[in-house]
Symmetry: C2
Subunit: 225 residues, 2 copies
């Protein structure tokens, strides 16, 4: 029981301590095994239908960091000082429609679904994409849906980092088009299988942040009893 | 150092233990203070520009659960047995455009931004919405963007639950239109300020899940050095 309370306390402290780090200490680097731990919690994240529609690019190359810095305004102040810089890609329409070769392979060879179960499952996905969320209306809508899943991995990586005292900054401040163009030129979108979703920098804070502000619980949480 | 390793071990175990719980034990309920802890980690989650474009409805009312069960196919097997059932709403276009009354109020009264800083900040948001991500092209695109942020809160709630041994199941299996209609009829969308984003059930597993499968790390994580 004490253990249970202590765990909650530690997690809450991590959430209260986490903030979007504006400036990283250039002298402090995240240990390689800590970074592997953070990425592993991203990999183990859940996703809709078990698609795992993501890829994590860890950009440590300084020439590429320099290009990103000048393409993504939101990354400008964090590069080059961030210890590790991750670009989260989401799978594009090519790999996420119910009848894509990627999903056929994914469910057969990775998820190892029995053939009849797989057929039913793909049918359900077809209905979900066509009817429930009308994702097939345009490519962007399907991509936004895959992108949503990557925010689960994003959140988990930031939270697991915070729990072991590592700071982070999620970054949406970039032109979607320009970043896709840069990543395509660098050969990182695997022939149209991926688009950029979001970025996240990891490291250690250079200074203490302002006090955390959040809307009050009674505004955010409503119990319907 | 031992403490650091142990924390990582505990977090990894929580990620390995977490699964989309198909069937909840109807006799086991989540303690109220544990549920408050889970919701609090959702509330403390980060969001783009600090918008906090979310609301968490905790649906404990059995008549409403019954209606949801018959509207959302993905919720059917989890209701009524889930201990707690949360619907995550995302703020709609009305409250998320750069010139909305909600954001003006949010940045003035909750974030307490100084007037000149706020003006610059809103200008940056305008450019982000108009140019960078072209979110103003249609209502759905802006909603999908707000919805992405709610997946951060979703992930954090599932992860914090898993860390204290509580199971969960994220649910996207519903008709977006029908669920919005039901929630509007129940007066839960606050006059068009919110749309449904995603749902998540909490409780304790009725049986052990199948072994977790994930694509291998070398397929998901690419180091660019």
């Amino acid at each position: 029981m004490e253990d249970h309370k202590q765990r909650k306390q530690e997690v809450l402290e991590a959430f209260l301590n986490r903030h979007a780090t504006k400036e990283f200490d250039p002298k402090k680097k995240v240990a390689h095994e800590d970074m592997e731990f953070i990425l592993e919690t991203g990999r183990l994240s859940p996703s809709s239908f078990g698609f795992e529609p993501w890829r994590f690019l860890v950009i440590q190359n300084s020439a590429l960091r320099e290009k990103i810095k000048h393409t993504a305004w939101g990354a400008y102040g964090k590069l080059p000082d961030a210890s590790h810089f991750v670009i989260i890609l989401a799978r594009s329409k090519k790999d996420t429609t119910y009848d894509s070769a990627y999903l056929e392979d994914h469910f057969t060879n990775f998820k190892k679904l029995p053939a009849d179960f797989k057929a039913n499952y793909l049918q359900r996905i077809e209905e979900f994409q066509k009817v429930d969320f009308q994702l097939l209306e345009n490519d962007r809508r399907l991509h936004d849906w895959a992108s949503k899943q990557t925010y689960i991995a994003l959140a988990n990586m930031m939270t697991s980092a915070a729990i072991i005292g590592i700071d982070s900054c999620p970054i949406e401040g970039f032109s979607y088009e320009k970043m896709n163009q840069l990543l395509a030129e660098e050969g990182l979108l695997e022939d149209g299988s991926f688009h950029i979703s979001v970025m996240v920098a990891f490291g250690y804070r250079a200074k203490e942040p302002k006090e955390k502000t959040r809307r009050p619980a009674e505004d955010i949480i409503k119990w319907i009893e």
